[in-house]
């Protein structure tokens, strides 16, 4: 197999970022998708898909220190990234494939003041054939205990929910837990449909998925809330092109009626 230097550099980055032995092997098959906006959006765009897909993270918006105070932003990001590395190891143990993206959302208060949240996330799929229910069960376990902690939980990185699309249903959906706090993977049984297609993100789309690698976002995908230091933007001085610029973005929504 021939690979370009760019691909090699990307694999090396991934291996360094994950710190997981053998990460290049698992990531190899997803190499094209993780740089290709079209292939990534294509996992959610058609009504019928071949393989189940989920977008999951171990990030938490608020992490508290032992005194019950929120960590500083830089510490929060570092701890969340460490949790994501453990999530990657957990995904690999289950024989699933993954590649990194960024999940993003915006919300406004009644004064029209917006807040933004971005999370380093992972696109997860089965390798080979896997029953849909088996895939969902794996995802439910990853949601409750993403970092593979010992004990009954819930854990510091236990998640609220995940985005999933299955071959058996044209609707992508949010799967989340009932009640205020889950007691185990079996609590993740609530579904809210998200839409049956995916399109390039426009500024009025508050929730979207952003590519971590590949070309940077087109201006039409961006908005005034974008900041150079946002999660997922390449840092300057690392030699990566497009420093401080976000990647391409897509949003899951319902197909417009003809």
């Amino acid at each position: 197999m021939r690979t370009s230097f760019k691909d090699f550099a990307a694999r090396r980055e991934l291996a360094q970022a994950t710190g997981v032995a053998g990460a290049h092997g698992g990531a190899f098959n997803e190499m094209a998708a993780r740089r290709s906006f079209k292939r990534s959006m294509g996992k959610f765009e058609p009504q019928a898909i071949d393989k189940a897909v989920a977008i999951i993270t171990a990030w938490r918006g608020e992490l508290l220190d032992p005194a019950g105070q929120p960590y500083l932003e830089a510490v929060r990001r570092r701890l969340n990234d460490k949790a994501n590395r453990n999530l990657i190891a957990n995904i690999q143990r289950r024989g699933l494939s993954y590649y990194p993206v960024v999940g993003a959302g915006q919300e406004a208060n009644d004064q029209g003041v917006f807040s933004v949240n971005k999370e380093n996330s992972l696109v997860v799929q089965p390798i080979g054939n896997l029953n849909e229910m088996d895939f969902i069960e794996s995802i439910q376990q990853l949601l409750f205990n993403p970092t593979g902690e010992v004990g009954p939980g819930p854990f510091p990185h236990t998640q609220w929910g995940v985005t999933i699309k299955l071959p058996s249903n044209p609707q992508a959906f949010l799967l989340y837990h009932s009640g205020n706090a889950p007691t185990g993977p079996q609590d993740y049984t609530q579904v809210k449909p998200l839409g049956d297609t995916a399109e390039s993100r426009l500024p009025h789309d508050w929730y979207y998925t952003q590519m971590k690698y590949g070309p940077r976002a087109e201006p039409a995908m961006m908005d005034p809330l974008d900041q150079p230091g946002d999660v997922g933007n390449p840092c300057p001085g690392t030699g990566k092109p497009g420093a401080r610029l976000p990647g391409n973005r897509f949003t899951i929504k319902n197909r417009s009626q003809p």
């Binding site: 058609p46 009504q47 019928a48 898909i49 071949d50 993270t57 990030w59 938490r60 918006g61 608020e62 999940g103 993003a104 959302g105 919300e107 208060n109 009644d110 003041v113 807040s115 949240n117 971005k118 999370e119 849909e132 229910m133 969902i136 236990t158 998640q159 609220w160 929910g161 995940v162 985005t163 299955l166 071959p167 058996s168 249903n169 044209p170 609707q171 959906f173 949010l174 799967l175 989340y176 205020n180 706090a181 993740y188 049984t189 609530q190 579904v191 809210k192 449909p193 998200l194 508050w206 929730y207």
Partner: protein, 90 residues
């Protein structure tokens, strides 16, 4: 508007998704008076919140009127709806 409600709104806005959770709770319980809204804000602040995009989007969808479905019902209803995938001509 009372200063107490303003303080609570500012507190709700500190964790992503909590403000939308409170708005949804007010909508669901038809809380129109400040006293009701304050009570619900205190309730939401006392509950755990992950501050994640997934949680905020869930509440945001609730505000748009998107109903929650049980997973088993969702899986049961989907099978017949998927159109056959078109094969590309070579």
């Amino acid at each position: 508007m009372s200063q107490r409600l303003e303080e609570l709104k500012a507190e709700l806005g500190k964790v992503f998704g909590r403000y939308a959770k409170w708005q949804l709770r007010c909508k669901e319980q038809n809380a129109r008076t400040e006293a009701e809204q304050i009570k619900l804000a205190e309730e939401v602040l006392a509950e755990p919140c992950t501050g994640t995009v997934a949680e905020a989007r869930t509440h945001s969808l609730g505000l748009q009127g998107v109903k929650t479905i049980e997973l088993k019902d969702f899986l049961g209803r989907g099978t017949a709806k998927v159109p056959a995938k078109r094969r590309r001509r070579r």
